[in-house]
Symmetry: C2
Subunit: 165 residues, 2 copies
């Protein structure tokens, strides 16, 4: 397989994988294109590379910027906007962690918090309900803490932790 075919395959695959990560295909593919690009790309470059519409390209680039994964790059003397993504995978992972925490963890905690308002005659059924919801909450808080630590950590900390494990 030659380089351009490899890149092509990687971009396709990254798009598919993205969907199982809760990231839409175009968003993941744009990220892949930028990751493999040798210089910042314009919206048009992206449209062409992936054969997608202007609206789609624009919206997903913006999403990637909201996630803090892609940056605008201004090329001196050029009017057009260019985009690039960092090639540091650790930084990427940390940013993705924040977003997934926001989407997957925080809403659980919110719902479980509300379950504390359940009241009524004390009974075994009520007791069990409280136990189950509390167990889930305790666990979720722990996961939340781990992800927070990961986010705040640097690569070395993580590697050291792995050693300890």
């Amino acid at each position: 397989m030659d380089l351009s075919e490899g890149k092509h395959q990687f971009i396709q695959a990254w798009g598919t994988l993205g969907t199982s990560w809760g990231i839409n295909k175009a968003m993941a593919q744009i990220h892949a294109v930028l990751l493999l690009a040798e210089k910042p790309l314009s919206t048009e470059d992206i449209m062409e590379a992936l054969q997608i519409s202007r609206g789609n390209a624009n919206m997903n680039v913006r999403n990637l910027m909201d996630w803090g994964i892609v940056n605008k790059v201004l090329v001196p003397g050029e009017r057009k906007e260019y985009f690039a993504t960092g090639k540091d995978i650790w930084a990427l992972a940390r940013q993705v962690t924040v977003e997934r925490k926001k989407r997957e963890i925080e809403p659980i905690l919110k719902v479980l918090g509300q379950m504390k308002n359940v009241e009524g005659e004390e009974s075994e059924a009520l007791e069990e309900f409280r136990q189950v919801t509390k167990d889930i909450e305790d666990f979720t808080i722990k996961v939340d803490n781990v992800l927070d630590k990961f986010y705040k950590s640097d690569k070395n900390w993580f590697l050291k932790l792995l050693m300890k494990m």
Copy 2:
């Protein structure tokens, strides 16, 4: 809020949350119903509790069984099949980990493995491609290892690890 309203809200919420976890709504809701039930439920019980069709109930119960989260329970003297889920959240988390690893991590490693077949004249571009794909692979393998450890671990191990962090 009284108990039955609390349960109802929890079941609804668990369904919605499920979708942001890559689990479909009915599957997550069935899990919630079983989690809060005081005894094993039949397909009909589930259909009624969630107002869903037989096909939907059947398919998603089967999915939950494939994930190892729900078990068939045979009630002596009864022809019908009943289903139950464990109330141990740690066990649940570990089983979910296996499935998510299968869906989210393993396919990445497979794609990255294929990227090793990229060949051609040595150039800076090729070098960079190799670097990026290798970085992602290294990181992914580390995450994979952590998840494996978690899966194989018990609750205490995890709690101790949290202390160290």
